[in-house]
């Protein structure tokens, strides 16, 4: 069979975008190669590492295990879309302040998973809830405790507001 195409239209970091994609392309391929947003990373490419995490309609998903066509009509936010007026969001600042990374390859996925977890929680989360909520995101440098600190601090500050 010949390659098939799909007229894709969706919201990417708040802007309506469209592209003619190969039906075989994953959302991750399209975000990185068509739209040049390289924050989401290709790690395992099989939903086991979380480096490709993006927000799809407000929930973190593995963009490597989603067809680009499946995003049609939806809203995608990548790590590039979290900043506010060019300034890092408070969650991103917390990652910097907590020194929550070493090599940084998994960081965008970690931040997206944390954003999804915090945005969908109605209260301050305890450490175990954060560990479980972030358990799809692997950090091979082992910065887990500092990542936990960054997310827990952000959760505490949001609750305090």
């Amino acid at each position: 069979m010949e390659a098939q195409t799909f007229e894709l239209k969706f919201k990417l970091n708040g802007k309506e975008v469209n592209a003619l994609v190969d039906t075989r392309e994953t959302l991750l391929d399209v975000i990185r190669d068509t739209f040049g947003l390289t924050g989401a990373k290709k790690g395992c490419d099989e939903a086991a590492c979380g480096a490709c995490s993006v927000l799809f309609n407000g929930h973190a998903v593995c963009s490597c295990t989603m067809l680009a066509a499946e995003a049609h009509g939806g809203s995608i936010v990548t790590v590039e879309g979290l900043s506010v007026n060019g300034e890092p969001a408070s969650l991103q600042k917390a990652f910097m302040e907590s020194d929550a990374l070493q090599c940084g390859f998994c960081t965008s996925g970690q931040i997206i998973a944390a954003a999804s977890l915090l945005d969908n929680a109605d209260r301050e989360l305890d450490d175990n809830e954060i560990r479980e909520g972030m358990s799809g995101n692997v950090c091979r440098c082992g910065a887990y405790n500092k990542i936990l600190h960054a997310v827990s601090e952000t959760s505490r500050k949001r609750k305090a507001k």
């Binding site: 069979m1 098939q4 994953t26 939903a47 929930h59 973190a60 998903v61 067809l67 358990s135 799809g136």
Partner: protein, 295 residues
């Protein structure tokens, strides 16, 4: 990039979906959350026509369903309900807590935000979390075909073999009914995985009903020990009707299960270890379930 080219359809209604399924008879594959299907496609399994049913909104509902007299008789979970939605659903948590608990333990949150109950049951991996729990809870699978012809069958009759179900090429699994009990419930689900969030090596799902005097129902479902998830019926009958289930009863059931069922052979785990763990996890699930009932 996924290896083999395919056509992609995204119907907005069931009728439209059946038209596509009929037109591409035998070649069309339904995609729901894609958390099993996309990995298969990446392995190069040919799927010339993909029908994405996620735009059919009526398949997303989770609701209480009444019998004729207006009494709540079951919870109807739409095929497209994600594990995350099931885990958070109030009707599910309140009435079918074993289903909520099972959903909350599938994979990791990134998978739970995407994977669906309909996808998991129709993929029919013998060790899938929801296949075992659907059996333990006597779930009824609702299937719709062209002309909106609907049939309902038990999970037991629906699962046919590894990655094989009773679903025909032109049919869609539309919802799953979980019967609601007014008895006191004890339940648990335990599984062996290689690492946190990995697919189960095996899984044990237990559901007990207690009427205040005796255990009126005892269901033990096992995943990963055969061609499909199975009910350990011969062990259940040892507990059903009893006024109490003792530690000795649980040890006997665990022993019987390791005698009768073969946990899978894997490169990472020795058969002796896996067998021992099947006994340990069965015992743990039963103890937790019994304790919920008797305190």
């Amino acid at each position: 990039m996924i290896l083999e080219p395919f056509q992609y359809f995204s119907p907005l209604s069931l009728d439209e979906a059946f038209e596509i399924l009929t037109e591409h008879h035998g070649e069309a594959k339904i995609i729901a959350g894609g958390q099993s299907l996309i990995p298969l496609m990446k392995m190069g399994v040919e799927m010339p026509c993909i029908v994405d049913i996620k735009k059919i909104h009526e398949l997303k509902t989770i609701e209480l369903s009444n019998d004729g007299s207006g009494k709540v008789s079951s919870v109807r979970v739409g095929a497209l309900a994600t594990y995350n939605e099931i885990e958070r659903s109030v009707p599910v948590r309140r009435n079918i807590p074993l289903l909520a608990k099972t959903a909350s333990g599938i994979g990791h949150p990134l998978v739970r935000n995407r994977g669906t109950i309909g996808g998991s049951l129709s993929h029919c991996d013998p060790a899938a979390d929801l296949c075992a729990t659907a059996l333990a809870l006597d779930a009824q699978i609702c299937i719709t075909g062209p002309g909106m012809k609907t049939r309902v069958l038990s999970a037991r009759d629906f699962f046919k073999g590894p990655l094989e179900t009773d679903l025909h090429n032109d049919e869609i699994l539309t919802s799953v009914f979980f019967p609601v009990s007014n008895m006191k419930m004890g339940y648990d689900v335990q599984k062996l995985t290689l690492g946190h969030g990995d697919f189960p090596v095996f899984i044990v799902s237990v559901s007990l009903h207690y009427d205040g005097v005796k255990f009126t129902n005892a269901a033990i479902a096992l995943g990963g020990v055969g061609e499909t998830a199975v009910r350990a019926s011969e062990c259940e009958s040892l507990m059903r009707g009893k006024e109490s289930i003792t530690g000795e009863d649980i040890r006997e059931v665990s022993r019987l299960i390791t005698d009768r069922y073969d946990p899978p052979v894997s490169a990472e785990l020795s058969p002796d270890y896996t067998r021992e763990m099947l006994s340990v996890y069965t015992g743990k699930a039963l103890r937790n379930a019994v304790q919920m009932v008797t305190g």
